[in-house]
Amino acid sequence: MASITMDNLCKVYIGGVKAVSDVNLDIADGEMIVLVGPSGCGKSTLLRMVAGLETISDGTLKIGDRVVNNLEPADRDIAMVFQNYALYPHMTVFNNLAYGLKNRGFKKAEIDRRVREAAQMLEIGQFLDRKPRQLSGGQRQRVAMGRALVREPAAFLFDEPLSNLDAKLRVQMRVEIRQLQKRLRTTSLYVTHDQLEALTMADRLVVLNAGRIEQVGTPMELYSRPATTFVAGFIGSPAMNMLPAEYLKTLVSADDLAHLPQSADLIGIRPEDLSLAPPKEGEMALTGELMLLEPAGAESHLHLKLAGLKDIFVARLPQVPDVSEGTALTFSLRRDQLHPFDSASGQRVA
């Protein structure tokens, strides 16, 4: 087990695509870091640089105290779980798990012991003689995990390991991986584009955008204080509503916005921060016409049209209100729940 230190990491692909730019990140020993970001933002590239599957164009990568920039993947003491599992289709599950150990010259008895241990931990003991194609998606996922486990590496790397599973299984495996990681406390770098996965699994979350880090922090920090409009829009579902400050001023009293810095010309409002209760002290009011009420069991989404604004404004309520479409509704909102941004830089301003 070891820490991972990224020092100004850059990746320029042959052909000139700059996939990763100046990434600085220290991953503590035993920490679980989740990388999120839109498709093509460089998540996989960064992970593969750590794995040694892509050369590092610039910067320094340390695993533990060793600079590993020029080491072969095999020599970095990491294990990786691939999105499509990358199980060797022609080998039995046992051999899939054992292959890495064999290549490293482990004794037969030791290989056997480790494989069985991992298999037991993952409850795939009864499949050891099967070929991967004879397993279900979830079982394959476990074998892929097992292949990483047996090696007892310094770090685990995961590249969207759950994206091929159906919704139910995804939830189950998410919980299992998280529990396993908490138990083993192996340093882990986990790539996903699934918000829920990102929020629930991470010790710290890294949001990447176009090859750069937008923000690093605990899921809660990112959710409650997104550092940029990008993060604000990316974390949380339905996404944060964004209103020009100028426009907002026409709807609410000047007081409501007084506490915000001058430079805040774009204001974010989370749909779930709105409520239908009448405004209380420290709260402001916002009125819109209900275009569509989407009831969804315990909660509901309300699509609103604010006077003079083209975009739809969404509110999320923890119940299904008894209102009808086409009527005007007034919502209340705590003033400190406004997220102020500078639209030019995209940075949060308070």
Binding site: L53, A79, A86, Y88, R104
Partner: protein, 296 residues
């Protein structure tokens, strides 16, 4: 057999659509095959077909399997088919592995390697025959410099090597394309997983890539054997005509020769029947393969 989950229903239309192909198949494939079966139990009267044929039961077959020359032809065919297959497949695999690692030059190399497929086997035969021509060919000249006295007119082995090279040459393109497609279909992540698992380049090839290519390899094996057994007629006919001393007299060539040159229709038909048997066996094997491939 699969269809669409929903199909049209028209009583006569499908039959009309199938008719051209089925009729041609019946007339030019099925009927002649029955003719071959029938002829194989007759001895023809005379070359010109003036006297009527005689029913001889299985004499043609008995004669065939008692004939050391036929047995020789079986052996020659085996050597030729295996030689051609191994040569073209191994060279093609080597090329494919090399080209597969190229990014920018991939298409260029592919272009240079695919076109021999366009060359007719007969022309391939003529080309190599010319190259190996004892008096003017470049190869015997070069071989002579290293002390080898090349003469495919006299030496059965030389002749065999020549027809194998001529036949394999054209087939390299074919195998190359399939291997390349096969290699491209191997998920890069498997290679990467193996790299992380500490396997060296060679080890990755032999423990991951090669086994994963095995369905393609097997498929090509059968296809190449079929090619070598049947499609190489032109190579043989345009070059050695089966010689010297029947050293390159492969089965299809013998069918033709005994039928059209030696005018021994009964024996030729019997040989056709044997060949059909071989083809059917190969097809069944291929079928098995298709099933296997689906499972992979």
């Amino acid at each position: 057999m699969q269809t669409k989950r929903m199909t049209f229903s028209r009583s006569w239309l499908p039959y009309a659509l199938l008719a051209p192909q089925v009729i041609i198949t019946l007339i030019f494939f099925i009927w002649p095959s029955f003719q071959a079966l029938r002829q194989s139990v007759y001895r023809q009267g005379d070359a010109f077909g003036i006297r009527p044929p005689q029913f001889v039961w299985f004499q043609n077959f008995q004669a065939l399997f008692a004939d050391p020359l036929y047995l020789n032809s079986l052996k020659v065919t085996a050597v030729f088919a295996i030689g051609t297959t191994l040569l073209s497949m191994s060279v093609a695999l080597l090329f494919a592995v090399m080209v597969n690692r190229m990014i920018r030059s991939r298409d260029t190399y592919t272009t240079f390697l695919v076109w021999p497929y366009a060359i007719a086997p007969a022309i391939a035969g003529v080309l190599w025959w010319f190259i190996f021509n004892p008096s003017i060919g470049i190869m015997p000249y070069m071989l002579d410099m290293v002390g080898y006295n090349w003469n495919h007119r006299r030496d059965g082995n030389d002749a065999m090597i020549m027809v194998i090279i001529a036949s394999a040459w054209r087939q390299i393109s074919y195998n190359f394309l399939f291997f390349l497609a096969g290699l491209a279909a191997i998920p890069q992540s498997l290679i990467e997983a193996a790299a992380i698992d500490g396997a060296s380049r060679m080890k990755r090839f032999w423990t991951i890539v090669f086994p994963l290519l095995s369905p393609i390899t097997f498929f090509l094996l059968v296809i190449n054997i079929v090619y070598a057994m049947f499609d190489t007629f032109g190579v043989i006919h345009a070059t050695t005509e089966g010689g010297p001393a029947q050293a390159t007299n492969i089965l299809v060539y013998k069918v033709y020769r005994d039928g059209f040159v030696n005018l021994n229709f009964g024996s030729s038909a019997a040989q056709s029947v044997v060949l059909m048997g071989i083809v059917i066996v190969l097809t069944v094997i291929q079928f098995r393969y298709i099933e296997r491939r689906v499972n992979y």
